[in-house]
């Protein structure tokens, strides 16, 4: 009994050591992709941590014929989509609906999102602009475009990572990229492309 216990314990330690090496090797890649998905470092860190913990829990189910990073990407996608579902939905209100206060009603004012005089297109760096444009994409388009253009995965790999068909991947990438193109047009012109 003692012998079998120590064998099991040794095996567990060995598995943990192997997993720590995978964390060391892939955490930068995972963080980069998480950062592009979430658009900020705090959410990206949370996403990476949750993904590695989930990967560790289910490490026994990892099929060794799939590259580890692709399996990790699949988990990151799932954790990311789950986190969006958990987030409370914004309340939809009419722009004409006045704000009711104890002092009386006040008209609802909408903030001007357009570039102000200090917010010139050249003052923000291109990376921030692209990140903002990415954040505006519907999440499945965003994920597909990130996997294709930032991580360089094939459509087949993306289909596996996102758990969908190649046809769906093809259409998500095309629609996501077209939306991005429209949002980024002005910067491409500035870059002379």
């Amino acid at each position: 009994m003692e012998l079998t216990d120590s064998v099991a314990e040794a095996r567990r330690r060995e598995e943990r050591k192997a997993f720590d090496e995978l964390v060391e090797r892939y955490h930068r890649q995972a963080y980069n992709i998480a950062y592009r998905m979430t658009g900020n470092s705090a959410d990206a860190e949370d996403l990476v941590q949750e993904a590695f913990i989930r990967a560790y829990r289910f490490f026994g189910q990892y099929r060794r014929d799939m590259p580890f990073e692709n399996w990790l990407y699949r988990i990151i996608s799932n954790v990311f989509v789950d986190s969006l579902r958990k987030r409370p939905k914004a309340r939809i209100r009419s722009l004409d609906e006045p704000i009711v206060t104890s002092e009386g009603d006040a008209p609802f004012e909408v903030a001007d999102r357009g570039p102000g005089p200090e917010d010139n297109v050249l003052t923000k760096d291109l990376d921030t602009r692209i990140q903002e444009a990415l954040a505006m994409l519907p999440e499945f388009f965003r994920l597909a475009v990130i996997y294709a253009d930032i991580e360089g995965l094939s459509y087949e790999e993306i289909a596996e990572v996102m758990g969908t068909s190649i046809g769906t991947v093809r259409s998500r990438i095309h629609r996501g990229r077209s939306l991005l193109r429209d949002k980024l047009k002005v910067y491409r012109d500035l870059m002379g492309e």
Partner: protein, 176 residues
């Protein structure tokens, strides 16, 4: 190939994810059609913008944070057992492994059934079993040589071993 069809294929064309026939048709079309060529070039430039983005770097101690959170992870029992069984199957050990794994699982299920000892009404079960053979030798009708007709066990008590689950897991790990 018309413009509509070509535009729908442009991203896949840029990514090289298109059949040879379609690739030739798209290439020929954007050579002739200015509007579609413009569309193609803007999509290609968008892809390049993304590809050239700098890699976002995590803070230096992220691996330490992950490691300390992994320390706190206690894997659920069913996953431990499942990973042991899977690892055994992957290793293509002898068919005996399957038997050992099945017995381990059965052992665990019984062990997890409750903490109180189980009393099985063996006498009732015994009577329900059909008995096609009736021994006729008179000697066997007495004492410990009872026939199946006369020998009826009264009850059977089985104590759950305290370490049943541990035994099963260790077994699964060792046999890999």
């Amino acid at each position: 190939m018309n413009c509509r069809r070509v535009i729908s294929l442009l991203s896949a064309y840029i990514d090289g994810e298109i059949s040879g026939m379609d690739m030739l048709a798209v290439r020929a079309h954007i050579g002739d059609c200015d509007l579609c060529r413009e569309d193609y070039e803007s999509l290609r430039a968008t892809k390049q913008l993304l590809a050239r983005m700098p890699t976002a770097a995590p803070r230096a101690d992220l691996t330490k944070v992950i490691s300390s959170r992994l320390d706190a992870v206690e894997m659920p029992l069913y996953l431990k057992l499942w990973s042991g069984v899977r690892a055994g199957l992957r290793a293509k050990t002898s068919p005996a492994f399957g038997v050992v794994a099945a017995v381990s699982v059965a052992f665990l299920v019984v062990g997890a059934n409750g903490r109180t000892p189980h009393t099985y009404d063996v006498a009732r079960v015994w009577q329900q079993i059909p008995k096609p053979v009736t021994l006729t030798l008179s000697d066997l009708g007495k004492g410990e040589f009872a026939t199946s007709e006369t020998y009826v066990p009264q009850s059977f008590t089985w104590e759950k071993p305290a370490v049943a689950s541990q035994a099963a897991i260790s077994f699964a790990s060792v046999t890999q």
